[in-house]
C-alpha cells in the first residue's frame, strides 16, 4: 500500500518534471548564481569607496561653511555674506551626495532631521533668535535647523544683501543663531563621521546577512526610502502638488534662494542615486550583485539591472528638463513636474519591488511563511 503510493508520487513528480522541462527552452542553460554574490565585498566597497570618501568631502565643505559663516558673523558685510552663501551652496550640493546614507550612525542620530527637513519654519526661527535658549533635539526644532534654516538665514531674512548684512550687524541674536545652527550641524555630523572612521566601518562590513537587521537590508531600506520619500516626493512631488492636488511651490528645497539651485540639488541627488546603483566600473555594486544573482525579467530575459538603469536614465532626463527655475516650473509647467514625479515613481517601484525581491532581503522582523 505504502510502496504503491510512494511509487505513484515519484512517478507523478518525474512525469511533471519531464513535461515541463520540455516546454522550457532555457531551463538548463541559464548561468546560475556564482561566487560573485559576495556581500562582504559589496559592503566593503560601499564603506571604503562611497560612504567614507563621501563623508570626507562633505566634511571639507562643512568646515569651509563654518569658516565663512564665522567670518560673516565677525564682520557682517555684503561681501562676507556672499562668501558665506557660496560656502553654504557648495555644502548643500555636497550634502545631496551623502543624504542617502541614512543607516548606521546617521540613522542613529537622525542626521537628515538635523540637516535637511524643509520647508524651514521661519516663524520658529525668528522666535528662537529672540530666545535665550533653544533645544535642537525636540521635534518642533527639526525645520528650524540645517540647510533649510541657513537658506532662510542667509537669503530670506531681509530683501537684498545689504539689508541682510545690516540685520546681522545690528542683531546679536541673529549672529548667535547662525553660529549655533552651523555648530549644531558640525557637531551632529561629527559624531557620524567619527563613527565611520572608527569601529562602525568593521561592524557594517561584517554584518553580511540578509535579515532585517543586516547591513544590506538597512542600506536598501534607506536607499529606497530616500529615493521615494525625499527625492521623488520631497523635491518634486510635494511642490508639484501630486500628493495634495494643488501645486505648493513654496515647499521646494532652497526656497529662499530659488533660481537654479533647487533643481541643481535635485539632479545632484538623482545622479547620486544612479551612481550608487552602478558603482564604479569593475567594482562591486548593486548592479554587479544583481547581475551575479542572474536577476532578470523572466518574461523577457532582460537583465533587471539594465531595466532599472534605463528607467533611471529616463527619469533623470525628465527631471533635468524642469529648469531653469524649479520654483516657477512647478506652477507654470506643472504637467512636466508631474511627469518627472511619475518617471521617478516607476524607478522607485523597480528598486523597492523588483530589486528588493531579487536580493532576497527581509524587511520586517516578524515571522513570515512566504507571503
Amino acid at each position: 500500500m505504502n510502496k504503491t503510493l510512494l511509487l505513484a508520487c515519484a512517478l507523478l513528480l518525474a512525469v511533471l518534471g519531464i513535461i515541463s522541462c520540455g516546454k522550457d527552452p532555457n531551463g538548463g542553460g541559464t548561468p546560475g548564481p556564482d561566487l560573485a554574490v559576495d556581500r562582504k565585498a559589496l559592503l566593503t566597497q560601499w564603506a571604503d569607496s562611497l560612504v567614507k570618501p563621501g563623508y570626507q568631502r562633505f566634511n571639507d565643505k562643512l568646515v569651509a561653511l563654518k569658516a565663512k559663516t564665522t567670518a560673516f558673523t565677525a564682520a557682517p558685510t555684503p561681501a562676507t555674506l556672499v562668501e558665506a552663501r557660496q560656502a553654504w551652496q557648495a555644502a548643500y550640493v555636497e550634502w545631496q551626495k551623502v543624504e542617502l546614507y541614512e543607516f548606521g550612525p546617521a540613522e542613529q542620530v537622525s542626521l537628515r532631521n538635523h540637516f535637511n527637513i524643509y520647508p524651514a519654519d521661519a516663524a520658529g526661527i525668528n522666535a528662537n533668535i529672540t530666545r535665550v535658549t533653544y533645544d535642537f533635539e525636540v521635534a518642533t526644532a527639526i525645520p528650524q535647523q540645517g540647510f533649510p534654516a541657513l537658506d532662510y538665514l542667509l537669503n530670506g531674512i531681509a530683501s537684498g544683501d545689504a539689508a541682510i548684512a545690516q540685520q546681522y550687524a545690528s542683531s546679536a541674536g541673529h549672529r548667535r543663531y547662525l553660529t549655533d545652527v552651523v555648530a549644531k550641524m558640525e557637531q551632529t555630523f561629527g559624531t557620524v563621521y567619527s563613527q565611520w572612521n572608527g569601529s562602525y566601518r568593521d561592524t557594517f562590513v561584517g554584518n553580511t546577512g540578509t535579515d532585517a537587521s543586516s547591513s544590506l537590508s538597512r542600506v536598501i531600506n534607506a536607499y529606497s526610502l530616500y529615493f521615494e520619500r525625499y527625492l521623488r516626493a520631497g523635491k518634486v512631488g510635494i511642490p508639484a502638488g501630486t500628493m495634495s492636488g494643488v501645486p505648493r511651490p513654496e515647499k521646494i528645497e532652497a526656497y529662499y534662494i530659488k533660481g537654479s539651485l533647487p533643481l541643481q540639488l535635485a539632479t545632484t541627488a538623482h545622479t547620486t542615486v544612479q551612481q550608487f546603483f552602478n558603482g564604479r566600473a569593475g567594482q562591486p555594486s548593486l548592479k554587479s550583485y544583481l547581475n551575479a544573482l542572474g536577476a532578470k525579467d523572466s518574461r523577457t530575459n532582460q537583465p533587471l539591472a539594465d531595466i532599472i538603469n534605463a528607467q533611471l536614465g529616463v527619469s533623470y532626463l525628465q527631471l533635468s528638463s524642469l529648469g531653469p527655475d524649479l520654483y516657477t516650473t512647478v506652477t507654470a509647467r506643472n504637467a512636466d513636474a508631474v511627469a518627472s514625479y511619475n518617471e521617478m515613481q516607476k524607478a522607485v517601484r523597480m528598486i523597492k519591488v523588483d530589486m528588493t525581491s531579487a536580493l532576497g532581503i527581509t524587511v520586517t522582523y516578524v515571522d513570515n511563511d512566504g507571503d
Partner: protein
Amino acid sequence: MAGRTLQRYLHSLTLAAPLATFRVAFGLLVLASVVRFWAKGWIAELYLQPKFFFSYYGFGWVRPLGPYTYALFAVCGLCALLVALGYWYRAAIAGLFLSFTYIELMDKSTYLNHYYFVSLVALLLMVLPAGRYFSLDARLNPARWRNEVPRWAVDALRLLMGIVYCYAGLAKLNSDWLVHAMPLRIWLPAKNDLPLIGPLLGQLWVAYAFSWFGALYDLTVPFFLLNRRTRPWAYVTVVVFHVLTAVLFPIGMFPYVMMVAALIFFPADWHERLLQRLRRLLRLAPATDQVPVPLVYGPATRQLLLLGLGAFFVVQLLLPFRYLLYPHELFWTEEGYRFSWRVMLMEKMGQVQFKVVDSQTKRAQLVNNYEHLSVLQEKMMSTQPDMMVQFAHYLRDYYARRGVHSPQVYADAYVSLNGRLGKSFIDPTVDLARITDDLRPKPWILPFDDEITGL
C-alpha cells in the same frame, strides 16, 4: 466486509499515552509561542500601534482589545499551561482554542499557516480525550483516569498531520517550484554567508535539489512515518528538514511545532516509555498497576464525536481546493490562497499607491500608506487584493470624516512574483470605495500575463 473492518477499527483501543504526550508538548509549545511573541514586543507593534486592522471576511467584529490585548495573550498563555498540566483540561483547551483563534482573527496581515495549524489542533483537542491520562485532573480525581482510548482519537491527529504535509507537497507541484526552482533560487543565495552550507547555497543546482526534495519530502513523509521500519529514518529527515528551514527562513516556531507534532506517529508504547521517563524525572510516582481502564463513550456521544470528526476532515480535505472556483492564477490573485498549507511558495513583493478623489471638486490627493499602517501591514497589503479593498474602505471613511465629499479611492499597484518583473496588479480606474469586500472573484485584478502550470 469493509463495513465490518471499519466497525472493528472504530471499536479498537490504544494506550492513552500518545494523546497525553501530545497534549503536554502542544501546551508547552503554545506557551513558548505566546511568551516569545510578547517578549519581542509584537503585541504592541502588531495589535496596539496600528490604527487599522485587516479583519477576515465575516469576522469584522474580531478586533484587538486595546491594552486588554495583553490580557488576552495572558489568558491564552495560561490556558496553554493548564492544557500542558492537564488541569481543568476541557475548559483550558476551549479557552486556548478561543483565545488563540481570536488573536489570529484580529488582523490577517499576521496570517501564518502554523497559527492556523495550532487553531485546528486546539479544536481537535477540545473533543479528543487528551486529559484523562498523565494529567492533574486524573490525579486529583482518579475516577476520571483512563489509560486506554479509542484508536481513532490518536489517528485523528495523525490524519491532520498527514493532510498538512501532503497538501503542502501538492502545492509545490507547479512549474515555478519544480522547473524554475522559484522562489528558492532567490532565497538560498541570500543565505550564502552561513557557515558550512553557505557556499553551496549560491549554486543553482542546490536550489533545484532543495525544491525537488522539499516536494518529495512533504508528499511522502507521513507515509514513511506511519511505517514501522522507515519511521526512525523518516523522523531523522523531519528533524533535518525543519532545522534547515529554521536556519534558512524567518518562520518562527513553525519548524519546532512540526518536529514535536510529528512524534504522534510513534507507537503508543514508545510514548508510554517516554512518560515513564518523565515521571522519574519529575519524581512522580511511577505508574505500577497498569490494569487496562478503557475510555468507553456512550453510543450517542460516540456517534456525535465521529460525525463531527468526519465533517471536520471533509472540510479539511476540500478547503484547500476552493481556489479551483476562481478563474485566474492563484499565486497572482491569491483568491483561495490562505488556509491551504501553501508555505514558502512565493517571493512576492509589491507597492501600492492609493489616490483619494473628492467626487464633487474632483480634487485628488495621494495617500502615504505608512501614516496609517505598520510596516508588516503595508507589506502584506501591497500584494493582496482583498486587503487593498479593506484599506480603501478605511480611507473612504477617513477622508469623508475630513471633509472630502463621498471619496473615490483608486489604487495603482505594482507587484512582482517569483522573479518576474513587476507589473500593474489591479485596475487603477476602479473605484475601490464602491467595491464590496466579499469572496466572489475580483474582476478588477489585472491579468498575470504568464502561466504557472501545475496544481
